[in-house]
C-alpha cells in the first residue's frame, strides 16, 4: 500500500527524490533537504497520503559521509493506516551546516521532537519557534549523540545562573510564607535573644 506513496512522491517530486527502498516492509524515501517542508506538506494534505501523525523525528550521524546527518521522520496515516519513512541528508563532515526546515507549522508534535533532535545531534531546524535544549541543560557543551562526542567526556561545572527578574522567582525571600503585614524585618530581636535563637556561642555553657 505504501508502495503507492513512493510512486506518488516520485511523480510529484521527480527531481527531489534521491533514493527509495523498502527494507522489511518499511517504505523509505530519501529526499532533497531543501524540499523537506514542501514534501511533508504534500504528505499531510494529499488525499492518497493523508499522513495525519508525525510519529517520530530523529537523526542519525554518519561522520564518514558527506552530507553527514540523516534526518529521519516517520509518518503515519490514522485514516488509511499506512506509514512512510522520509529521510534527508544534511550537514558537512565537520558537523556544521546541518540545517533543515521545521515541520512545526504542520504537526504540533514536531515541536518537541525537533528540540530533542537539536539537543542530541545539533541539527538546526529553521522556522522552529522555540529551538532550545530539552533533555539537557542550556550550558551543556556539544551534542552527545554525535559519533565524535566521546562517551566518557565530562562537562564543565555550571556556575549559578544569571537570570533576569530572579527576585520574582520563587523562593521569594525571607518573607515567604509570612502573613501580609507581618514581615520579619519588623521584628528585631534583642541582642541577647538573637544569640540564643540563632545558636550563637554565648549561650553554649
Amino acid at each position: 500500500m505504501a508502495q503507492a506513496l513512493i510512486e506518488l512522491l516520485q511523480t510529484k517530486f521527480a527531481d527531489a527524490v534521491q533514493e527509495t527502498h523498502a527494507m522489511r516492509g518499511d517504505e523509505t524515501v530519501v529526499v532533497d533537504p531543501t524540499r523537506w517542508l514542501e514534501i511533508a506538506r504534500c504528505l499531510r494534505d494529499d488525499d492518497q497520503a493523508q499522513m495525519s501523525v508525525l510519529v517520530d523525528l530523529t537523526a542519525v550521524d554518519f561522520p564518514d559521509r558527506d552530507p553527514r546527518f540523516e534526518v529521519v521522520a516517520h509518518f503515519h496515516s490514522l485514516g488509511l493506516g499506512h506509514r512512510l519513512r522520509l529521510k534527508a541528508k544534511v550537514g558537512k563532515p565537520d558537523g556544521s551546516g546541518a540545517q533543515i526546515a521545521s515541520l512545526t507549522s504542520l504537526w504540533a508534535s514536531a515541536n518537541w521532537l525537533e528540540r530533542e533532535c537539536y539537543d542530541m545531534l545539533g541539527v538546526q531546524f529553521s522556522g522552529h519557534p522555540d529551538l532550545r535544549r530539552i533533555l539537557l541543560y542550556p550550558e551543556f557543551e556539544g551534542h552527545p549523540l554525535r559519533k565524535d562526542y566521546p562517551a566518557h567526556r565530562t562537562q564543565p561545572l555550571v556556575p549559578y545562573r544569571e537570570a533576569e527578574n530572579i527576585e520574582k522567582l520563587p523562593p521569594f525571600g525571607p518573607d515567604e510564607g509570612m502573613p501580609f503585614g507581618r514581615r520579619w524585618r519588623d521584628w528585631v530581636p534583642e541582642e541577647d535573644d538573637a544569640d540564643e535563637l540563632l545558636g550563637g556561642s554565648k549561650g553554649q555553657h
Binding site: 527494507m23 529521519v72 490514522l78 504540533a108 521532537l113 541543560y137 527578574n165
Partner: protein
C-alpha cells in the same frame, strides 16, 4: 485602633495593578509523580502561560546503547518505562527480530502476550492509582498497589526480578513459563478485576472526585493527533487507534478484545479508558492462557541468535564457542534500518534501529510515547486553574524514565 476613613473609591484607586506571577512547580513536587518542572505564569488562579521542562531523568540510554552488543540494550529499555518493563523488553526484542527477519515460536508468542498484558495492567493500575492519590483519594491507591504487588509476585516467579526484569531475548524469552504459571495468573487476574470493580464503585459515585476530573483538561481529537498522542490518552479523545488492533503484532489479531474510547477527552475519560483497558487485558490473558502450549521451545532454533543451554556450554566445545561468540562479539544484525512499534502502557512505543552489520547497534532510537504526551501538557493546562495541573498531569501518566531516557 484607627478609624476606617477610606471610601470605596479610595480603596479601588489604591488597588495594585494586576500583575502576573511566575510559579515554579517541580522538578520534584509531591503532587507530580515524576520529575518534571512546570513553570506557570498565573493571574490569580488561572494559568496564562506554561512551560513544561523535562530531562531531569536523562541518562543517555541511546548513547549507551551504541557501546554494547544488541543484547545489552535490554537492561536500558527496562529502565525506560520502569512501571511496565516487560512491554519495553518485548518491544525491543520485536524490533530486533524484525531486522533479523525471524519469527518466534508459538509458545513464546503467547507467553510474551500474557506477560505483556499483565505489565499493561500494572501500568494502568499504577497510573490511575497515583492519579487519584494526588487528588487525595488514598484508598484506591492502596488497593491498586496491593494488586500490583500480586502481579509483581508472578513476575518475580517468572523472571527473578520484581521490577527490572531484562527478561526479553532477541529471538525469544530467557526462560520457559514456570510450573503453575497458568494457575497463578488466572487467580491473580480475578483479584485484579475485583480491585478494578471496587475502585469503580468507590470513585464513580464520588462527587469530590468527579468534580476534579470531569471537563478538566479537555483535549480535542485533532489536537491530540497533531501532538502525536497515542495510547489511552488518544483513545480518551475518541480516536480508536490501538497498535494491537490497527497493526497487530505477536498474535493480537487472533484474540478478541475491545478498544475502549472516551468521548470528551477530559481527565475523567483518560482515567476511565485506562480502567476499561485493564478489563480488556484480562480478556486477552484468559484467551492466551488457553492457547499457551505446555510444551515446546520458547526461543527460535538458530544458534547465531540464541544462547545455547548452559549444560551444553559446560560440556561441549561447540556450545562454548557459540556462547563465547554471542557474548563477546555479539549477535550480528544485518545492515539496514527498521522501525518497529508496539502498544506499550502509554501508547505507541517505537524502536528505530540502524545497524551497520556489526555486533554493536549503530543507532537505537527509542520513540517514547509519553515524551510526546508530555509535550501536550502545556496545551492542556494553559487557561486552566492551578489545581487542575494535578489531575491533568496525573492522567497523562508521564514516566520520567521513558520521557527523558
Amino acid at each position: 485602633m484607627e478609624p476606617l476613613e477610606r471610601t470605596l473609591d479610595d480603596i479601588e484607586a489604591a488597588e495594585p495593578q494586576r500583575e502576573t506571577m511566575l510559579v515554579n512547580i517541580g522538578p520534584s513536587h509531591p503532587c507530580t509523580h515524576g520529575t518534571v518542572r512546570i513553570v506557570v505564569e498565573i493571574d490569580g488562579e488561572s494559568i496564562q502561560r506554561a512551560d513544561v521542562q523535562v530531562g531531569f531523568l536523562h541518562r543517555g540510554f541511546e548513547k549507551m546503547a551504541e557501546r554494547g552488543t544488541w543484547a545489552q540494550v535490554f537492561p536500558y529499555v527496562d529502565r525506560c518505562n520502569y512501571v511496565s518493563p516487560l512491554l519495553n523488553n518485548f518491544g525491543y526484542a520485536l524490533a530486533c527480530e524484525k531486522l533479523l527477519g525471524i519469527q518466534v515460536p508459538e509458545r513464546c508468542v503467547y507467553y510474551r502476550m500474557v506477560l505483556s498484558e499483565l505489565a499493561r495492567m500494572v501500568d494502568h493500575l499504577t497510573c490511575t492509582g497515583a492519579m487519584v492519590m494526588e487528588l487525595a483519594a488514598f484508598t484506591p491507591f492502596l488497593w491498586m498497589m496491593k494488586g500490583r504487588d500480586m502481579v509483581y509476585d508472578i513476575f518475580e516467579e517468572e523472571t527473578g526480578a520484581r521490577v527490572t526484569h531484562s527478561f526479553g531475548r532477541i529471538g525469544g524469552v530467557a526462560k520457559p513459563p514456570s510450573r503453575g504459571f497458568k494457575e497463578n495468573v488466572a487467580a491473580v487476574v480475578v483479584k485484579l478485576l475485583e480491585i478494578v470493580d471496587e475502585v469503580k464503585r468507590l470513585l464513580y459515585g464520588t462527587r469530590v472526585f468527579l468534580d476534579r476530573v470531569e471537563n478538566v483538561g479537555v483535549m480535542a481529537a485533532e489536537d491530540a493527533i497533531s501532538l502525536g498522542w497515542t495510547g489511552p490518552t488518544l483513545r480518551a479523545c475518541g480516536v480508536p487507534y490501538d497498535v494491537r488492533r490497527a497493526h497487530p503484532y505477536l498474535a493480537y489479531d487472533q484474540v478478541e478484545f475491545d478498544v475502549p474510547v472516551g468521548q470528551a477527552g477530559d481527565c475523567y475519560d483518560r482515567f476511565a479508558v485506562r480502567l476499561e483497558e485493564v478489563i480488556q487485558s484480562a480478556r486477552i490473558i484468559e484467551q492466551c492462557l488457553e492457547r499457551l502450549p505446555d510444551e515446546g521451545p520458547v526461543c527460535v532454533d538458530d544458534p547465531r541468535v540464541v544462547l545455547p543451554p548452559k549444560d551444553k556450554v559446560y560440556t561441549t566445545i561447540e556450545a562454548t564457542i557459540q556462547h563465547f561468540k554471542l557474548i563477546m562479539e555479539g549477535l550480528k544484525m544485518p545492515a539496514g534500518e527498521v522501525y518497529s512499534y508496539t502498544e506499550a502502557g502509554n501508547g505507541e512505543l517505537g524502536f528505530y534501529i540502524v545497524s551497520d552489520g556489526s555486533g554493536t547497534p549503530y543507532r537505537v532510537r527509542i520513540r517514547p510515547p509519553c515524551f510526546l504526551i508530555t509535550g501536550g501538557l502545556e496545551h492542556l493546562i494553559t487557561g486552566a486553574m492551578v489545581p487542575d495541573i494535578v489531575p491533568c498531569f496525573g492522567s497523562l501518566n508521564m514516566i520520567g524514565g521513558e520521557c527523558d531516557r
